[in-house]
Amino acid sequence: MSVGTGILRVPSNIKKGEVFRVQMVITHPMTPPRRDPQTGQEVPPYTLTKLDLFFNDTLVSTINMGAGVSANPFIAISMVAQDNGVVKIVYEDNRGGKWEKTAELKVS
């Protein structure tokens, strides 16, 4: 239910052409490969691997990550407010999970 739930936030009042910060949090355990202390079995990693940031379907950035990023990752990155439009993130993990989240951007 909950893995991959995300919050995507853009500022509400910005001017056209201004550089702003997109902030996001995604629920994900981000566990490295490890040996289960009780059963002694090898547990494979479970992490987000890639996150693409789009503005109106044009790629702005690609972020690759692994188990070195904290659980329930927080990411903030800058981008230019080119126009009114949609900021979209598409993210996937190493077990085939793929999600997307959008936020409306209004410029003045």
């Binding site: 919050i7 949090v25 994900h28 355990p29 566990t31 479970y46 659980a71 329930n72």
Partner: protein, 273 residues
């Protein structure tokens, strides 16, 4: 003789000339506390992952029929409700804090037995990584609905007053094989640390600063910690037997802590280690 007396008194008052013989650390404890507060400030920037639980909680409230639940301001009124808890509830005939009341409503409106509620509460206790509990989500939702409200526990109510006094006495009670009470760590004028963690102190009037941000998102476990989970963890570290959530003990502690924090503005979720 007289000269000795006066000089003796002067020596007794003891001019503190710096350079204690114990200053062997690279960083002074005070400096370390400051740097760790800096770390906590940096953590608080940006989106708090705990807010995801609020989003989940929004749906859970409907799922568990809690729009019928009265948190003291009327059925289904959540705005500001958490700020006036704990209070006395006529329908239950008891003083309850937020989580105890939530448990009571889950029994009444979501057809859960008491055991089921306790299991529901503790589903993520002791876990880390990938545990999302709807109970945590409900508590997060209910608390965040009171963000911006000032804590205002009605201590004039005799029932509340009684629990306040019990909570205060419990805070001081030294019991168990390690002789702890709450005040062992959370009292005293001097600022001290447990390992790297700076401890808040009731004697320094920091109760408000300790409660206003609960539930607090814990980075080391990747989940929010509700107040009752906090009590349970403190009590585990104190080597007392295991804590039972929604008990009178929890209500007494909440009554004492929140009443001492009256006037502090709620701002959940917090974030920390």
């Amino acid at each position: 003789m007289r000269r000795y007396l006066i000089l003796g008194a002067i020596v007794s008052v003891g001019a503190v000339v710096g350079g204690s013989i114990y200053a062997q650390q690279d960083l002074s404890p005070e400096e370390e506390i400051r740097l760790i507060q800096e770390f906590n400030r940096m953590l608080a920037e940006g989106v708090n992952p705990g807010e995801v639980w609020y989003e989940i909680g929004k749906d859970s409230v409907k799922k568990y029929n809690l729009d019928k639940c009265d948190f003291g301001l009327g059925p289904g009124v959540f705005k500001g409700a958490a700020a006036q808890l704990p209070r006395y509830f006529k329908d239950a005939g008891k003083v309850m804090d937020l989580e105890t009341r939530l448990g009571w409503c889950l029994q009444k409106y979501a057809n859960m037995s008491q055991e089921e509620v306790l299991k529901f509460v503790r589903q993520c206790w002791g876990k880390s990584g990938n545990c999302v509990s709807e109970y945590d989500a409900l508590v997060m939702f209910l608390t965040m609905e009171s963000n911006g409200f000032k804590i205002s526990v009605d201590t004039k109510d005799p029932n509340v007053k009684k629990f306040y006094e019990i909570g205060k006495a419990v805070y001081q009670t030294r019991i168990g094989p390690w002789d702890f009470n709450c005040a062992t760590c959370h009292a005293g004028k001097q600022e001290v640390r447990i390992r790297a963690t700076r401890l808040w102190s009731a004697d320094r009037g920091e109760t408000g600063q300790a409660v206003y941000y609960f539930p607090k998102y814990l980075v080391r476990w990747g989940l929010p910690m509700t107040m009752h989970y906090r009590y349970a963890e403190c009590i585990r570290q104190m080597r007392w037997p295991e804590f039972i959530p929604h008990s009178d003990l929890a209500v007494a502690l909440s009554t004492y802590l929140y009443a001492e924090s009256n006037g502090t503005v709620i701002k959940a979720p917090g974030i920390g280690r």
